[in-house]
């Protein structure tokens, strides 16, 4: 497919990796924020092409992974209600709540449906006026334009049986939290390409300046990732800390302004708890007051939800980049994609699932 295959050439990948080896003289830790990039890195073995000086730390950019347990439990509580149809992206179905997951609720008779787009949930609400259709709206900035438009359409059509359980999170506050955390080892960031395609790159220069950290907007294909890493290492070696855009075919400085306008209309900033990390101020979006009628948390009395994490799960440390997934004692033993303890083992973007599927049982090694 055009705009994909050109960025997967093995020969060019080896040349880029050789170039990175040539320029790297000191140890550098680079965090790829986005879980989609983590998967591409592990799947294509990008980290194994890099010289020993360059370490990739996997960041918290997996929305399924950082959605707090309380929110999963709220989704489960809604899915158990007989009048409700809970719509979700497929990734969420196997994420463990305190006691069970959405798949278990579905097996017990709950109406849980996987949708490809939030517009599918709007369509379902139109078609089933007697039922309450709730869309589990999780995601980073990339997903917000879709979710915001679903709400706008529902408002325009006065769809009284449509609502959203919102758990939106944002990249820049996460970068700020990581750089401010004690023991941080991150020297530079690969900024998430698709988040930036919506939001633009203008929000990064102040962060690069404040924390004196290079930020390179990077795509998802092997050559995109290697080019992002190459540009980052050049900056690090030169002692520079600037914003660079290594994904210019998709990302512009201003981003998608039509999408930003709809987001600003429908959502408003809020503090969010990140699973495994804790509360980060102003790190997410909730529905703006004008759209409160579409807020599932206000529509349904969910009682008090108290959540309990598995004591064995170290996903918080994985999400902060403190440990690699295969350094967790439960990895591949008590915790597998079939019986996950934490969301990082479930999601197609979770670092633990990426390591498991690539057969990485110990750091730096690979099963045949």
């Amino acid at each position: 497919m055009k705009h994909l295959v050109e960025y997967r050439d093995a020969d060019t990948a080896r040349r880029l990796a050789a170039e990175i080896s040539r320029i790297a003289t000191r140890p550098w830790a680079i965090m790829e924020v986005c879980g989609g990039q983590t998967h591409s890195i592990i799947r294509h073995g990008i980290d194994q092409l890099l010289p020993a000086e360059v370490e990739l730390i996997h960041g918290p950019g997996c929305p399924v992974c950082v959605t707090p347990l309380e929110m999963i439990d709220k989704a489960l509580a809604i899915a158990r209600r007989p009048e409700a149809i809970l719509c979700s992206f497929g990734d969420m179905l196997r994420v463990p709540g305190s006691r069970e997951d959405l798949l278990a609720v579905k097996a017990a008779g709950g109406d849980v449906r996987i949708v490809y787009s939030p517009l599918d949930a709007v369509k379902l609400a139109r078609a089933t006026p007697g039922r309450e259709v709730v869309f589990l709206a999780i995601g980073f900035e990339t997903t917000a334009p879709a979710n915001a438009m679903a709400v706008q359409i529902a408002a325009r059509e006065r769809l009284a049986n449509f609502s959203l359980l919102v758990s939106h999170v944002l990249v820049p506050p996460a970068i700020r939290a990581i750089m401010s955390s004690p023991g941080n080892r991150v020297n530079a960031f690969l900024a998430a390409g698709h988040v930036s395609s919506v939001m633009g790159t203008w929000q990064y220069p102040p962060l690069a300046e404040e924390f004196r950290v290079p930020i390179v907007v990077t795509g998802f294909e092997p050559l995109d990732l290697l080019e992002g890493i190459r540009r980052t290492v050049i900056q690090l070696e030169a002692g520079r800390h600037e914003l660079e855009n290594a994904y210019p075919r998709v990302v512009t400085e201003r981003g998608n302004e039509a999408a930003q306008a709809v987001i600003a209309e429908v959502f408003t900033a809020t503090d969010r708890a990140w699973r495994g990390i804790g509360v980060i101020p102003e790190s997410g979006w909730r529905l703006a007051d004008a759209y409160a009628a579409f807020d599932a948390e206000q529509r349904f009395d969910l009682g008090s939800v108290t959540a309990e994490e598995s004591p064995l799960c170290k996903s918080g440390e994985v999400l902060k980049g403190v440990i690699k997934p295969n350094q967790c004692p439960a990895f591949g033993r008590e915790c597998t994609p079939r019986m996950p303890l934490g969301a990082t083992m479930v999601s197609s973007e979770g670092a633990c699932a990426a390591y498991y599927h690539a057969g990485r049982t110990a750091h730096g090694t690979r099963l045949a």
Binding site: K2, M149, S197, N256, S348
Partner: protein, 93 residues
Amino acid sequence: MCLAVPGQVESIRDEAGIRMGRVSFGGVVKDVCLAYLPEITVGDYAIVHVGFAISKIDEHSAQETLRTFAELGILEESLAELRESDPATEPGP
């Protein structure tokens, strides 16, 4: 979750006031909301995420990026040739 793939716009239509289109992903054609890309036309490529086109792919920038990769390769090869032609620059064992 932020998985987004490039597709080519095959047709554009208005559906209840919303700009929609048929977008081909290597032959698999899907309905995609084009409301956020008012300037996109048939034949253009866009990055699509959960049924929404969020960014038009800029052909010029794509070519520039590919040229950078090509130049890196050429540079590497010409350095190798230089080393081969001049034994004095050959690195030690």
